[in-house]
């Protein structure tokens, strides 16, 4: 089991390495423009050169990447070229907010989707059609459009929630809950349908297996077979979907955060890339990669826990 986790993590590290190489060298194409921007649009070439020297842009990219990696391994992701704050602080504090949104949404999705999907598979009928409808809506309507609609209706028209802004949990728990309620709901609405459909599908698949009839032939009630055996066997595919959904929700959070003016990763990603703030962009990419790898490993471990074939091979 330990070996299994180790292997997954090693693959993850490889992935993050590939990601940072790719991002770093792609970003070099825009670096010159950034120096100009910092020095000012009307700055002389000499002034720009000074800025480039200060940022280390006069050194060859490979050398800069080397020192970036060395610093990063030591836990230092550099300082922002614009504000001067340490990237680690900015990214981790913002990541915490984004992860809160994503995790809250995944949990909400998981609970609702599993219940809906399981019931739809077990009962069929109108519930089944509702899940299919939800799936179509979730798939069809872009998440930010959903968020927009929620803001218009619940914040602007009805005034139940703050339209924008973020209250830290340290300030007021109630205010914090109110401020993240709409964003989390906006993220969740889009993902419930798809996940519920997947759960329904894998439940129906598990339900049609031969062993269900055999278990029933031993006198076990339908209910028991559904909740003990079918659900357990459908859990594997459902876990994979939720893992995938987490990554999708991280992406969705970027837009939703911007829309709700929440100080997560989204607004930072936007401003840093439009400015060309390479250290911040790198930091965001790498930290996001780390979070995703951790989540995927968790999913794999959970997968092995429910599926003896994975665990024992």
């Amino acid at each position: 089991m330990l070996k299994f986790v180790g292997k997954r993590l090693a693959t993850g590290v490889g992935l993050i390495a590939a990601l940072s190489v790719l991002t770093f060298f792609l970003l070099q194409f825009g670096a010159a423009g950034t120096a100009q921007r910092i020095a000012g649009q009307s700055a002389s070439p000499e002034a720009v050169a000074v800025v480039e020297e200060r940022l280390g842009l006069d050194r060859p990219p490979l050398e800069r990447f080397g020192s970036w990696v060395a610093d990063a391994l030591g836990g230092d992701l550099g300082r922002s070229w614009f504000g001067g704050q340490p990237v680690v602080d900015t990214v981790t504090s913002r990541m915490a907010v984004t992860v809160t949104l994503a995790v809250g949404s995944v949990v909400l999705t998981a609970v609702i989707a599993v219940v809906l999907g399981a019931l739809a598979a077990a009962r069929r009928g109108w519930l089944d059609r509702l899940v299919q409808l939800l799936g179509v809506i979730g798939q069809a309507i872009p998440g930010f459009l959903m968020a927009l609609a929620l803001v218009l209706v619940f914040a602007i028209e009805l005034d139940w929630f703050p339209a924008t802004g973020y209250t830290r949990p340290s300030e007021s728990i109630g205010g914090w809950l109110l401020s993240i309620a709409l964003p989390v709901v906006a993220l969740t609405v889009g993902s419930i349908g798809g996940v519920a459909q997947q759960v329904r599908g894998s439940m129906i698949d598990a339900f049609s297996r031969d062993y269900v009839r055999t278990l029933r032939s031993r006198g076990l009630s339908r209910r028991r077979v559904v909740y003990r055996h079918v659900l357990r066997n459908a859990a594997g595919p459902a876990l994979s979907i939720l893992g995938l959904q987490f990554v999708i929700l991280l992406g969705g959070a970027v837009i939703v955060e911007t829309l709700f003016s929440i100080p997560g990763l989204g607004p930072a990603a936007l401003s840093s890339t439009s400015q060309g703030d390479i250290p911040v962009v790198m930091g965001i990419v790498v930290v996001t990669g780390v979070v995703v790898v951790l989540v995927n490993t968790l999913v794999d471990v959970a997968q092995a826990w429910v599926n003896p074939k994975v665990r024992l091979s």
Binding site: A140, L148, L215, R218, R228, A269
Partner: protein, 599 residues
């Protein structure tokens, strides 16, 4: 030989193969969405000519103008015509979505075909690229790419296409992998087709449907992503898009609510129609997921009088354990009911082994499932009676049947591996019914399960008890299933082709085991099989079933010695008689042994 076993003079009439487009138009959702999408597409193409104003021309007098006066849908914050912008934006948005799908399909399908068919390093590379793109939200990559490429909508959409290409890759890869294992690919190779021809002729055909299906969704996702990107203000400000219009409407929400409405409607409707089209495509390409309900289905009616059964007699004395009379089982079908059992008749006496033989589709398994009360979904006993030990089983509730199943009636299935739950150990699966149905304590149940495993001839019961199904061989798994079936010392054991999936030598052992257990426990066994050898080996009595009707019944010796029904005779005639072929002329038997080397 009965007529049913002759080849029909002409094969059934050819099913009409209507074009996909026509079938889509006939589909309730597909038709509507296809027509509306066509309208949206036409608007997009015609936009430059039908737009009443220049979408970028500003007019200070028209800032936030009401709809109607001059501008049909009013003016925006810069005094531009909302209608004209909406029309032109349609073209940009749809072109963006198509570009995403085009790039994604080109990259993903090609890579998926090559990796799926040849494997090797492309396979490894594909898996890596897929993992890479799945591990980072694409919006972050797009934002990063934008800082390199600048705010070009086309570049952004092309990159997004590359990022979603793994969606195609995985689908195509899996489809190709699936097809690769099909025997018709091997057959094509033995027909002399080269790899390129095989891909072009057989593999592409198999991936066509899933690719078409995906595309509707990917176009929608592309349009949505582009709108999101523009909504964030990352797009190209010179091309009007729905995303930009939404952005502008959202930030001026206090001045005019309608500004958000139009682009939101356009975006929402387009993506919804695309998704509905995808759903309709799935229905038409993969067949509807559930048979459409027919509200006014005619009630089931028997088709003709019940045919008579030839009974050889010689039945044992005493009250029979199981009597099935005039049984009919039917499934709802498109036009009424499909009757799979028309006249099921069986009499099983205590302690006897009764064989139910027939070919595939004869309804023998369906008859057995009816006795268990476990017909597959949709199947119903529509007529007849099943009397077990004096009690009528037809019409009993599931709960009442549960009391019988697992205590007095037990079941051994055909395919051993798929009949064990892969997620639980053998021990779990054996003890669960003992605890919940028979009310044993955990410890008692474990002791009993271990005894049972030993009884069915498993060499190391403790190890098997702790094993998961995938760690067992087929023969072992079948023994475990038999152990589970006899755990409650049932009066009747129903075995559905219990040895068909096993090798001959294992089959012989399992038949021995069933015989021993029957004698030890004094239970009756109803064994469903197509193998006359199995019947001869194990059964006291036999019933022959043809197309849902039991046509002949009697003691095994009587029926084998004197088969009377034409179908039974035809079956016996078809058994390989075992007359060996003489060696080929001109080959002496000594010479024939010449080249073979015996291990």
């Amino acid at each position: 030989m009965s007529s049913a076993h002759r080849l029909p003079a002409s094969t059934p009439t050819r099913a009409p193969r209507a074009g996909l487009l026509r079938r889509l138009l006939a589909h309730p959702l597909g038709g509507v969405s296809l027509v509306l999408l066509a309208v949206i597409g036409a608007v997009a193409v015609a936009a430059p000519w039908v737009a009443p104003h220049d979408p970028t021309a500003t007019d200070l007098r028209m800032i936030f103008a009401e709809p109607g006066g001059g501008y049909a849908l009013g003016g925006d914050s810069a005094g531009r015509d909302v209608l004209s912008r909406l029309l032109v934006a349609t073209a940009c948005s749809i072109a963006g979505g198509l570009l995403v799908a085009g790039v994604a399909a080109l990259v993903g399908v090609t890579a998926g075909l090559v990796a799926g068919f040849f494997g090797g390093w492309i396979d490894t590379l594909g898996a890596w690229f897929t993992a890479l793109t799945m591990s980072l939200p694409s919006i972050i990559v797009l934002i990063a790419a934008r800082s390199v490429m600048g705010p070009s909508m086309w570049w952004t959409m092309a990159i997004f296409g590359a990022l979603v290409s793994p969606v195609y890759y995985r689908v195509v890869y899996n489809a190709v992998r699936g097809v690769r294992g099909e025997l018709y690919i091997d057959a094509a190779r033995t027909s002399g087709l080269s790899n390129t021809r095989i891909i072009g002729r057989h593999v592409l055909m198999a991936v066509r449907a899933p690719v078409v299906l995906l595309t509707a969704g990917v176009v929608a996702a592309g349009i949505g992503m582009q709108a999101g990107f523009d909504f964030l203000g990352l797009g190209d400000p010179t091309t009007p898009t729905w995303g930009q219009m939404l952005n502008e409407g959202f930030y001026n929400i206090n001045r005019s609510r309608l500004l958000v409405l139009w682009p939101a409607l356009a975006l929402g409707l387009t993506t919804v129609f695309l998704t509905l089209l995808g759903t309709a495509l799935r229905d038409e390409l993969e067949g509807p997921s559930d048979a459409r309900r027919r509200r006014n289905r005619a009630p089931w009616a028997p088709d003709g009088p019940l045919p008579a059964v030839i009974d050889h007699g010689n039945a044992p004395e005493g009250e029979p354990l199981l009597v099935v009379r005039d049984l009919a089982v039917a499934y709802p079908s498109e036009n009424g009911f499909a009757t799979v059992v028309r006249n099921g008749r069986l009499t099983v006496h205590r302690g006897e082994t009764h064989g139910l033989v027939g070919e595939s589709g004869s309804g023998k398994s369906q008859t057995a499932f009816s006795v268990l009360g476990l017909l597959p979904r949709g199947g119903t006993v529509v007529a007849g009676s099943i009397v077990f030990d004096g009690d009528e089983l037809v019409g009993r509730t599931d709960e009442q049947m549960n009391r019988l199943r697992g205590s007095r009636i037990a079941y051994v299935p055909q395919e051993p591996m798929s009949n064990l739950d892969p997620s639980f150990t053998v021990g779990d699966q054996l003890t669960e019914p003992l605890v919940t149905v028979l009310g044993l304590s955990k410890a008692e149940a474990e002791r009993r399960a271990l005894d049972l495993l030993e009884q069915v001839g498993i060499p190391d019961p403790r190890r098997t008890y702790a094993s998961y199904p995938h760690q067992l061989s087929g023969g072992m798994a079948q023994r475990v299933l038999i152990a589970g079936a006899v755990a409650s010392r049932p009066d009747l054991l129903i075995a559905d082709e219990p040895t068909t999936a096993l090798d001959v030598t294992v089959q012989a052992e399992v038949l021995d085991l069933l015989r021993d257990l029957r004698d030890e426990l004094g239970m009756a066994v109803l064994i469903v099989t197509h193998n006359f050898g199995v019947v001869a080996d194990l059964c006291d009595r036999v019933s022959v079933m043809q197309e849902g009707v039991v046509v002949e019944t009697g003691t095994t010796r009587d029926v084998f010695a004197d088969p009377r029904h034409p179908y039974t005779r035809a079956l016996f005639a078809a058994i390989p008689k075992g007359a060996p072929r003489a060696p080929l002329a001109g080959v002496t038997s000594a010479g024939a042994l010449g080249t073979g080397r015996i291990a």
